[in-house]
Each structure stands twice: as structure tokens, then as C-alpha cells.
């Protein structure tokens, strides 16, 4: 049994209410920090813990915090990124829905560490019911003196607000999130300046994922060193993984980083193996944006070593034979799944979600979707695969924000590892339609 930190209390009845949360040791970290620690000491503990951002990029949280500018007389803001919209990722919603006070406690600690007196939770608009859960929990925290003026007599003030987005994946990108919070169209900003210098209302700001902030509670309670003992190498602590696809037990799991992919995928404690006794075909280990891995690279790296659930091991081999831990959206495909169809589906998502500011992403995502749709539906040409490759190559790295990369990588990886399947779609359109849909009996002429 791996250690549980974030989900430790998740099944305690009524843990979402203040009374139960408090009885289970809640808000003790805030008590400890406000009474015994300076803000810098909290930052120091987080640095020691090696905690890395859980929103996707895996940037060390303590380091990010230490970059925040501290000009005299200018407010600073902590923004919690609860926009969770990546296909395959559904961990934050689970945490917030079940245990909202854990996030609130984490935010109080982090705001204290950063010297913020106003903080925001930017939540995905579709999560309206979670917004209500959070608002209720925040009201309880105010009533009990954990938020507001002069928290528990420490002289520290903090106001916490929840703001819903309006249904755009791009508003999870940190600068688009800031624009959206300011009431503007959610277009990512040009960087630099980074949010740590000029963020919300041009003031220094830090954007962190829900899970990152919730992890701070245990770091303050038990010390950064204790947290750093969990995990492997630079991947410290525990991580929430949302597992889905063709597995026996889809769901949200907390793992100690460094768990082997094999154990995660096949043990009954976690995914419970491939559903209905089928064989593994491929796996997207970190949410739709990361490269897909073919079955022979899922549990082993190209060097034949065991693949672990950690930032480093999943990325082993670079993009040629590796992938990324990303946001922990673990999507599993069995032998009957069509990679072309899946790639088309992902690309359709990015096409729909591109903000449309920069030309490579705006036009390229739509183009890739159309070409993939054509291949999937039996109208592909031989040159389409090379065309797709060229289009994704010209998007990647040439855009304002990483959404362009996120759209390009899955296409590149699918072609890299499953080129034969693309070719089969093009050479045998009828057979492929029959297999995937059972629709076509008469031969259709590929245009």
C-alpha cells in the first residue's frame, strides 16, 4: 500500500464539512505556520520538499515561489488553477469535491508564504456544483476565523474568492487564466514578463495547480524533509493519477512517485489490468497533450529498464521513445482501439480549444483535424501522413503558448509509433471502416 497524503481522509464521512475536517486534524498546519513560522520558512520547507507543480509542467513549486517580485506597496496574488480541462485528467475535481478544506488550507499556507492578502481559485465553469461546495467551505472557514482579517490573532489577513471560467480549456494556461480573471477574453499573454513579475492586474502573481497547493498542507505539518523522503530522485511526494480507458478499475488514485507503471497498470490496488482480459495496445500517461506510448514502451523504457511513474522515467528516451507525466491523466487503450481515430479525437479537441491568436495554432490545429478526419473516414491519400508530420512540425515551438505544442505532440507521437496503422487506413479504407464502425459493406472509392 502506497502512502496516502491527499486522499488519506477522502473517505471519512462528511470530510467536506468544517467540523469533521477540523476534527481530523484540519487547519493545524495553518495554526503551526501562523504561530511558529515566518513566511520565508514556509517557502523554505516547500523548497526542501522538492514539490513540483502538478498542473503539467512539473516546475519546482518552491523555486517558482522564490521568483515572485516583491516591490513595496504592490499587492501580490496567489491564483489556484482549478480549470482542469485536459482530456483524461480529472483529479482536481475529485479532490475539491470531496475535500474542499484541504485546498483552502493549502491556499492559506501558500498565500501566507507568498505574502498575498487576496487569493483566487479559478475554477472550470462546468464545475458549478464544485464551486458551490468550495464557496460553502470558504464561508465556513471565514466563520471559524481561518480567513478574513487578523487570522487567529496573527495579524495576517487573507480573502479568498472562487471565480468560474466560461468553458475554455485555454483558460488553464496561466496567463490566459489571468486575463480571464481580469474579465477579458482568455488569450494567453506574451512572455516575458512572467506572472511572477507582472500577473493579475500587472501585480506579481503565482499560479499553482489545485494538487500542488493541497500538498503544501502535509509539507508544513510534517516538514519538507519528510515529504522529500517519499518518491524517487527529483520526483518527490505523491501524485494523483486519474486512470481511464480500457482498464478494469478506472478512477483517481494517489501513488507514491516512483511506483512502477507495471504495478500501477496491472495490480488490483490500482487499475486492475486491461478490461475484459484484452491486450494493451498503447497508453497516454499524462493527459491528452503528452506523446502516446506503444505497448512495448509502456512498462519498459527503450533501454529495457523498468518504467516508473515519475517525471524522469516517463520522459526517458525523450520524445522518440518516451512521454511525460504531465497532469497525470493516464489513458489506456486496448487492442481494439483505433489510434487514428483517437488522434483525430484529440486533435479535434485542440482545434476547438485554440484561442486563435497565433497563426500556427489557429490554422494548424484545424488543418490537422481535417486531414485526420479524412484518413479516419477512408478518404486519405498516401501523402497525407507526411503532410500531417510537416504541419505538426511547423506548429511546434512556433506559438505563443504551449497549446500549440500540446496539439502537435500527440500527432507526432502517433505517427512515430503507429505509422503502419495510418498507412493501413489509407490503403484499406473499406476494411478499416468495417473494423472500426462495421458500417461499410459496399466499397467506397477513396477520393
Amino acid at each position: 500500500m502506497g502512502r496516502k497524503i491527499l486522499l488519506e481522509k477522502i473517505n471519512v464521512e462528511n470530510i467536506h464539512t468544517y467540523d469533521v475536517y477540523r476534527k481530523e486534524g484540519g487547519y493545524e498546519a495553518v495554526e503551526k505556520a501562523l504561530k511558529k513560522m515566518t513566511p520565508d520558512e514556509v517557502v523554505e520547507e516547500v523548497k526542501k520538499s522538492g514539490l513540483r507543480g502538478r498542473g503539467g509542467a512539473g516546475f519546482p513549486a518552491g523555486m517558482k515561489w522564490s521568483f515572485i517580485a516583491k516591490p513595496e506597496g504592490v499587492p501580490r496574488y496567489l491564483l489556484c488553477n482549478a480549470d482542469e480541462s485536459e482530456p483524461g485528467t480529472f483529479k482536481d475535481r475529485y479532490l475539491m469535491e470531496k475535500n474542499p478544506h484541504l485546498l483552502i488550507e493549502g491556499m492559506i499556507l501558500s498565500s501566507y508564504a507568498l505574502g498575498c492578502n487576496t487569493s483566487y481559485i479559478y475554477i472550470r465553469g462546468e464545475f458549478m456544483w464544485i464551486l458551490r461546495i468550495l464557496e460553502k467551505a470558504i464561508a465556513e472557514a471565514y466563520t471559524n476565523g481561518w480567513l478574513g482579517k487578523n487570522i487567529k490573532g496573527s495579524g495576517y489577513n487573507l480573502d479568498l474568492y472562487v471565480t468560474p471560467g466560461a468553458g475554455a480549456y485555454i483558460c488553464g494556461e496561466e496567463t490566459a487564466l489571468i486575463e480571464s480573471l481580469e474579465g477579458k477574453r482568455g488569450n494567453p499573454r506574451m512572455k516575458p514578463p512572467f506572472p511572477a513579475i507582472k500577473g493579475l492586474w500587472q501585480c506579481p502573481s503565482v499560479v499553482n495547480n489545485v494538487e500542488t497547493l493541497a500538498s503544501v498542507v502535509s509539507i508544513v505539518n510534517n516538514g519538507g524533509d519528510e515529504y522529500a523522503k517519499i518518491g524517487i530522485g527529483r520526483s518527490t511526494g505523491t501524485k494523483l493519477i486519474s486512470a481511464c480507458g480500457n482498464i478494469s478499475k478506472p478512477g483517481v488514485y494517489e501513488i507514491e512517485l516512483g511506483l512502477s507503471v507495471e504495478e500501477f497498470l496491472y495490480s488490483d490496488e490500482y487499475c486492475g489490468g486491461i478490461k475484459d482480459g484484452k491486450r494493451l495496445k498503447a497508453c497516454v500517461p499524462g493527459g491528452s497533450s503528452v506523446p502516446i506510448l506503444p505497448h512495448y514502451l509502456v512498462t519498459k523504457t527503450s533501454a529495457g529498464e523498468q518504467r516508473l511513474m515519475s517525471y524522469e522515467s516517463l520522459a526517458d528516451g525523450g520524445f522518440a521513445t518516451g512521454s511525460m507525466l504531465g497532469s497525470g491523466g493516464f489513458i489506456v487503450f486496448d487492442e481494439d482501439q483505433c489510434i487514428v481515430r483517437n488522434t483525430w479525437n484529440f486533435t479535434r479537441f485542440y482545434h476547438h480549444e485554440s484561442c486563435g491568436q497565433c497563426s500556427p495554432c489557429r490554422e494548424g490545429t484545424g488543418w490537422m483535424e481535417k486531414v485526420l478526419h479524412r484518413i479516419e473516414n477512408g478518404h486519405g491519400h498516401k501523402h497525407d501522413i507526411d503532410l500531417l508530420w510537416d504541419v505538426q512540425r511547423k506548429i511546434e515551438g512556433n506559438t505563443i503558448c504551449p497549446l500549440g505544442d500540446a496539439a502537435a505532440w500527440p500527432v507526432a507521437a502517433a505517427i512515430r509509433h503507429f505509422r503502419e496503422e495510418f498507412e493501413w487506413h489509407i490503403n484499406e479504407p473499406v476494411k478499416c471502416l468495417e473494423k472500426n464502425y462495421g458500417l461499410v459493406k459496399e466499397p467506397v472509392l477513396a477520393i
Partner: protein, 314 residues
């Protein structure tokens, strides 16, 4: 003052100057093309990605190259920075890609477009584009929309550079003109079909790098290369009154701002000068406007310099 080297040419520029502006100070064909940046606007650039360049050396202090190509219009130079534009194969390749992206949904209706001949996208495609298209699908199309009585928006041609949006943001106090929807369904709009109540709204036509925003008092009147652009000024209490009048014989067909070699106007002119001053008597003609050699507008255009010393005959 930081020193920057672009395609082997070194120049010293003021602190905070962008790579693009440093290149413009050097001049010549090492200047990256810019489809969205507009130096006369407070906010612009970063969007079209045509100005991408390769930074092969970050600075004297930190000589590491930048991992990705950067938008030269919004990246400030550092002392000792070395930049590749035309000399970088990576840049040329990426730029070719950007032009292709800009064109896949562009109607390429130059033969019936008023902007033809003075279109930045046309010039860009001529230099960096391919002769054929790899895009086989239907292009996205929109209905034409009137933004007030004098401006027409033909969204199908738009490349979403945001220049007009930034212009209107700058001249008006509230947000009246912006972008609706997202991705490749984005469209410029004045929610919904409003006119822009501002004396300088006509400048959106001048800043538009393509033929998406056109002057309704001029639409379909003439090809620009049949007209003679003349520098002219008038007494105007709203703007400087310094403009270009585009003439056919004795008639003024249209009035625009004075655009420089990068397609940027010197001053914003007012709507009265632009739309309602087609009477020659109102203007003092200064002389023919300088047209770049090689521009199609130069055909049939005579520029006399004083030293030519040509006397009137007859």
C-alpha cells in the same frame, strides 16, 4: 547601450529596443516581415509569428542560444545578442510554414480584392510562400459586414492580426471592437454589427495588412495601381491633415494616411479627411508620393525630383 548582431550586421540600439526595431534601424532585407506588429500602436505584435527569428547567442552574459525561435517584434535585444533572420534556415522554414498557415483559410481572391497591390500578405507570400497549396479542404468563409456607413469588414480575408482591435482600443475609452469566438472560428466584430462612433475609426482600414477592412467610399472604384498617390494636406481641426490622396486625373478616388515602407502610417487621419474630402479644392497637393521601385503601384507613376528640372511645355 546594447549591441546586437543581426544576420552579421551589428548595431547599437537603445535599451529595451526589440529585435525587429533594431533590424529596422539597420534596414535592408534583413528586416523580418511583420504582419501584426505596428509601431504606432501602444499594444501590438506577437500573434502572427511571421517575424520569428533565431537567437543563436542570448547575450554577452549568457551566451546560450534561445531554445525556440522568438517573435522579434516582442523580444528585446540584449547586449551581445546574435540573431539569424535570412541567414537562418530554421527561420526560413518556419516562416514558410507561417505563410502557409495564413493562406490556408485565406480566399486568395486578390483579383477582386481592393487591397491587391498594397497587400502585406501578398508581398509576404510572394517572398516566402509556395506556388501551390497543400490544403484541400473547404476554406472558412463569413458574410461581409458593414461597420458603420464607411467601413466594410470582409472577415473571410482576415488573418487575425488584432491590429484593428488594438487601434480601436487605443482611440476609444470602452471596448467596442474585438474578437468573438475562438480558434479558427474567431471573428472580428463590433458586437453586433455596430458602427464605431469615433472620428478616427477609419484608421482600422489603414492598419489592416490585408483586404479585410476596406473603405466603402473607394471599394471597387479602381485598382490602386491605376491611381496616382500624391502627398497632400488640408486644414483640419481634428487631425494633422497630412494625408495621401489617390488621384485619377483630376479626381480624388480615396484618401489614406501616409504609409512608410513597413506599411505603417505616419499619423492617424480623421474620418472627415478620409471619407468626406474627395474635393480636390480642399487639398494642397505637395507632390507625388515616393513609391518603392518594384511596387506595382509604381506603374504609370511619375516622381519628379527638383534636380530633374523639367519645364512645363506649351
Amino acid at each position: 547601450m546594447p549591441k546586437v548582431t543581426i544576420d552579421g550586421h551589428t548595431i547599437e540600439v537603445a535599451e529595451g529596443t526589440t529585435i525587429l526595431n533594431a533590424a529596422r534601424q539597420i534596414g535592408g532585407d534583413l528586416v523580418p516581415p511583420a504582419m501584426c506588429y505596428y509601431s504606432k500602436l501602444d499594444v501590438s505584435g506577437g500573434k502572427c509569428r511571421t517575424c520569428l527569428v533565431e537567437v543563436t547567442k542570448g547575450s554577452e552574459k549568457d551566451p546560450r542560444p534561445m531554445p525556440k525561435l522568438v517573435a522579434s517584434c516582442s523580444t528585446p535585444v540584449m547586449d551581445g545578442m546574435e540573431v539569424g533572420n535570412k541567414s537562418s534556415a530554421k527561420v526560413m522554414d518556419a516562416r514558410k510554414g507561417v505563410v502557409e498557415f495564413l493562406l490556408i483559410n485565406h480566399p486568395l481572391d486578390c483579383p477582386i480584392c481592393d487591397q491587391a497591390g498594397e497587400c502585406d500578405l501578398q508581398n509576404l507570400s510572394y517572398e516566402h510562400g509556395a506556388s501551390g497549396s497543400r490544403y484541400e479542404e473547404d476554406k472558412r468563409t463569413f458574410e461581409k459586414i458593414d461597420i458603420g456607413p464607411n467601413i466594410q469588414l470582409h472577415m473571410t480575408r482576415c488573418i487575425l492580426c488584432y491590429r484593428c482591435v488594438n487601434t480601436v482600443d487605443q482611440i476609444t475609452d470602452s471596448r467596442v471592437h474585438g474578437v468573438l469566438n475562438r480558434g479558427d472560428h474567431s471573428e472580428i466584430g463590433t458586437y453586433i454589427h455596430n458602427s464605431i462612433e469615433n472620428d478616427f475609426s477609419g484608421n482600422v482600414i489603414d492598419v489592416c495588412p490585408v483586404g479585410a477592412l476596406t473603405d466603402k467610399t473607394f471599394r471597387f472604384k479602381s485598382r490602386v495601381w491605376f491611381l496616382n498617390p500624391m502627398n497632400a494636406h488640408c486644414k483640419c481641426d481634428k487631425c494633422s491633415g497630412e494625408a495621401v490622396v489617390w488621384m485619377f486625373g483630376d479626381e480624388i478616388y480615396r484618401v489614406t494616411g501616409r504609409k512608410d515602407q513597413y506599411g505603417e502610417v505616419k499619423d492617424f487621419i480623421c474620418n472627415t479627411c478620409r471619407f468626406d474630402s474627395k474635393d480636390l479644392a480642399k487639398w494642397t497637393i505637395e507632390g507625388p508620393r515616393h513609391i518603392e521601385r518594384g511596387s506595382i503601384i509604381g506603374q504609370g507613376h511619375y516622381e519628379l525630383k527638383p534636380e530633374d528640372n523639367i519645364k512645363e511645355i506649351g
